[in-house]
């Protein structure tokens, strides 16, 4: 096992469709459940005259959380022979969408779980919708509780069809649809004798096929400036390389002022690197004096991100207080921060059904997804989310709190600025 390989994934789906049972089962089948917990669960199950009930794992954890009792470090993670995994807890209840969004935004992949008996429910769809909105592209669908439908292939096929059609409208193309019984362990870590008709992967095998995000080293350079430090008379522009590679001697361009300069040095404490790649938090100095500050973006000539005051985007509104068109917001994208207003609400969509609630609407309500046009007070560097994630995602702030997350569909022409 490569010790340093860690993949984080989120389990989403309607409440009661078996998220906690699956988590318990994954811990158990990978041997990551502390023995004393296992004994406890076996006893509790036995006493109730049931097979070992894995939902109890999470019940116990939750119980512990509520009580503020220490949980063993190993329980946050589980391992397969290939790598370590971090399971991100995403509440299934509609009340906790804010937390679900927080969890999902940190995940590299998602397992979408559906109850074979109950089928697709509102939160199933809403969660899928959020995944698509947040750009969590790697999705595996688990059709759970197959034991309750007698491991019937036709139930699986029907749900696969139904979900597939739905997910296609969200541009989600799941790598697998796995029929499982988290309670009995069918198709989680071991193949199921009850489902000879299914020849695909188990959940664990499938997790091991998930990939981490592709390295962006080969892309054109983008480095939003985070801060400027003056240290020993050196001006150091600090930031994290969002895409591409930067090296000493490189010709760079600083947006929005389109100032050209060359990199004098890459700065890291106690190191003298000659280059840095996407993901690295570094500092740079320049040969020529430049005026640059937080929010400015370093790129290369010919590969500038768009620079505009009008943005077409999808947003997810998650504040109980509705938004009335024209109200003032703050938009934060990467290290940029500007006043913004939603100028047009092109379409309001029910996040659970995908139905269009209204076109050219005046208001946004809690849990709405909407296609909107945002205008910002001064130009920002942005890019379509599908091109450069870091420059294509943003949050909206109102009254000191994040009230929406969004991704850029496309920059719109600004009458006063030329758009590349």
């Amino acid at each position: 096992m490569n010790d340093s390989d860690v993949l984080s994934f989120v389990i989403v789906g309607h409440v009661d469709h078996g998220k906690s049972t699956l988590i318990g089962r994954l811990f158990y089948d990978t041997g990551c459940l502390p023995e004393e917990k296992l004994v406890e669960i076996e006893q509790a199950s036995k006493q109730l005259g049931r097979p070992v009930e894995f939902g109890f794992v999470m019940d116990h954890l939750r119980e512990e959380r509520d009580q503020g009792i220490t949980i063993d470090t190993s329980q946050a993670f589980f391992k397969t022979s290939k790598r370590k995994y971090v399971i991100i807890d995403a509440p299934g209840h509609v009340e906790f969408m804010k937390n679900m969004v927080t969890g999902a935004s940190q995940a590299q992949a998602a397992l979408l779980i559906v109850d074979a008996q109950e089928g697709v429910r509102p939160q199933t769809k809403r969660h899928a919708h959020i995944l698509s909105l947040l750009g969590v592209g790697q999705v595996v669908v688990l059709i759970n509780k197959m034991d309750l439908v007698s491991y019937d292939k036709s139930v699986y096929e029907r749900l696969k069809q139904e979900l597939g059609d739905f997910l296609a409208t969200l541009n989600i193309n799941p790598s697998q649809y796995i029929p499982i019984s988290a309670s009995y362990g069918d198709q989680v870590a071991r193949r199921s004798a009850s489902m000879p008709w299914y020849s695909g992967l188990t959940v664990l095998e499938c997790l091991d096929t998930l990939t981490k995000k592709e390295s962006l080293e080969g892309c054109p350079l983008l480095m939003p400036i985070q801060d400027v430090y003056k240290i020993n008379s050196k001006r150091i522009y600090a930031g994290r390389v969002a895409a591409g590679t930067i090296y000493a001697g490189m010709e760079i361009k600083v947006m929005p002022q389109e100032q050209l300069a060359s990199v004098k040095s890459i700065e890291k404490f106690l190191e003298s690197p000659i280059q840095a790649v996407a993901g690295e938090s570094i500092g740079i100095t320049t040969t020529e004096a430049i005026f640059a500050e937080r929010g400015h973006v370093i790129c290369t000539d010919g590969h500038e991100p768009s620079y505009t005051t009008r943005i077409k985007a999808n947003v997810f509104w998650m504040s109980k207080q509705p938004y009335v068109k024209g109200g003032q917001l703050i938009l934060k994208c990467s290290t940029q921060e500007v006043f913004a207003t939603i100028q047009t609400i092109c379409r309001r969509i029910d996040s659970a059904t995908l139905e269009i609630i209204a076109e050219d609407a005046d208001k946004l309500k809690n849990l709405d997804v909407a296609e909107v046009i945002i205008t910002v007070e001064k130009p920002v560097c942005i890019a379509p989310f599908n091109d450069v994630e870091e420059m294509g995602r943003f949050v909206l702030i109102r009254d000191n709190d994040v009230c929406a997350g969004g991704i850029v569909i496309e920059p719109l022409p600004d009458p006063d600025i030329r758009v590349r």
Partner: protein, 266 residues
């Protein structure tokens, strides 16, 4: 990029965000392995010139080794060290011998309140990790505290991607947790990789070592022969589960507690 480098870069990003958004910040340095790792990362973030104070809440009951280490490192790394003591409580005779809870409350919690109010910090860097405590699994990277220093863990701000809660009301402050996604093992492996100095109490002497350090009066060593960083890492990898295997008595009462709670009798 390997896992430790990913963690390092992410932590540096968070540290720089915190400083940029608030400026009036400090880090809480308990001199333990986690906050010393945090201190190391902060040095890296600012190229060795930490632009804010390192706050040590001194209860007066810390191990001698901790004081020695603190003063040596503060000098070597040229830290702006601020040592804060709740002198009024000490003068009143508060000590571990008169009551441990009151002692902690007065000499740590209230000392921190005093320090924040006196030095007017808007944000504080802390070295907590998600895997330490059950409830910490719910923590945010930027986590607001109200006037009373309360953490409203039932309703926390959304935290998307790398966009953190940086807007506060006047009487709030923000706890910033750059190490939140690290595990205990990550910390040790990073200490090894970077050669970060830590207090020697973490290493076994006569079959015992400390897994966490604080006040001499309230810390107990664990049985261990791990006397080097390598040995500690090996120990952590092999003994993760046995540490807290509860006694039969505890399991039974856990079951009963759950039973009573489900019936509303608790």
């Amino acid at each position: 990029m390997d896992h430790l480098s990913c963690l390092e870069n992410q932590s540096i990003y968070i540290i720089r965000e915190g400083y940029n958004r608030f400026r009036d910040v400090a880090m809480l340095w308990s001199i333990g392995k986690d906050s010393t790792t945090l201190l190391w990362l902060i040095r890296k973030a600012f190229f060795g010139n930490i632009p804010f104070p390192c706050l040590h809440l001194d209860t007066g009951y810390k191990f001698r080794e901790i004081y020695e280490f603190r003063d040596r490192i503060a000098k070597e790394w040229n830290l702006n060290l601020k040592v804060h003591k709740n002198e009024t409580a000490i003068a009143r005779g508060v000590s571990p011998h008169t009551g441990k809870l009151e002692c902690c409350t007065e000499l740590k919690t209230n000392a921190l309140k005093d320090a924040i109010n006196a030095l007017r910090f808007k944000a504080l860097f802390l070295g907590i990790r998600r895997d330490e405590h059950g409830i910490r699994a719910k923590e945010r990277v930027f986590s607001p505290r109200d006037k009373q220093f309360e953490w409203n863990y039932k309703s926390q701000p959304a935290e998307l991607w790398d966009q953190y809660k940086t807007e506060t009301l006047d009487d709030e402050h923000i706890r910033i947790h750059p190490l939140l996604g690290w595990t205990e093992l990550d910390i040790w492996e990073y200490i090894r990789r970077e050669g970060i100095p830590i207090v020697l109490l973490y290493f076994a002497k006569n079959g015992k070592r400390y897994r966490s350090i604080g006040c001499e009066t309230c810390c107990n060593p664990v049985d261990s022969d791990a006397d080097t960083v390598d040995a500690v890492i090996e120990e952590l990898k092999t003994t993760t589960l046995t540490e807290r295997s509860g006694r039969a008595q505890d399991k039974e009462s856990a079951y009963m507690m759950q039973k009573l709670r489900s019936l509303g009798y608790m």
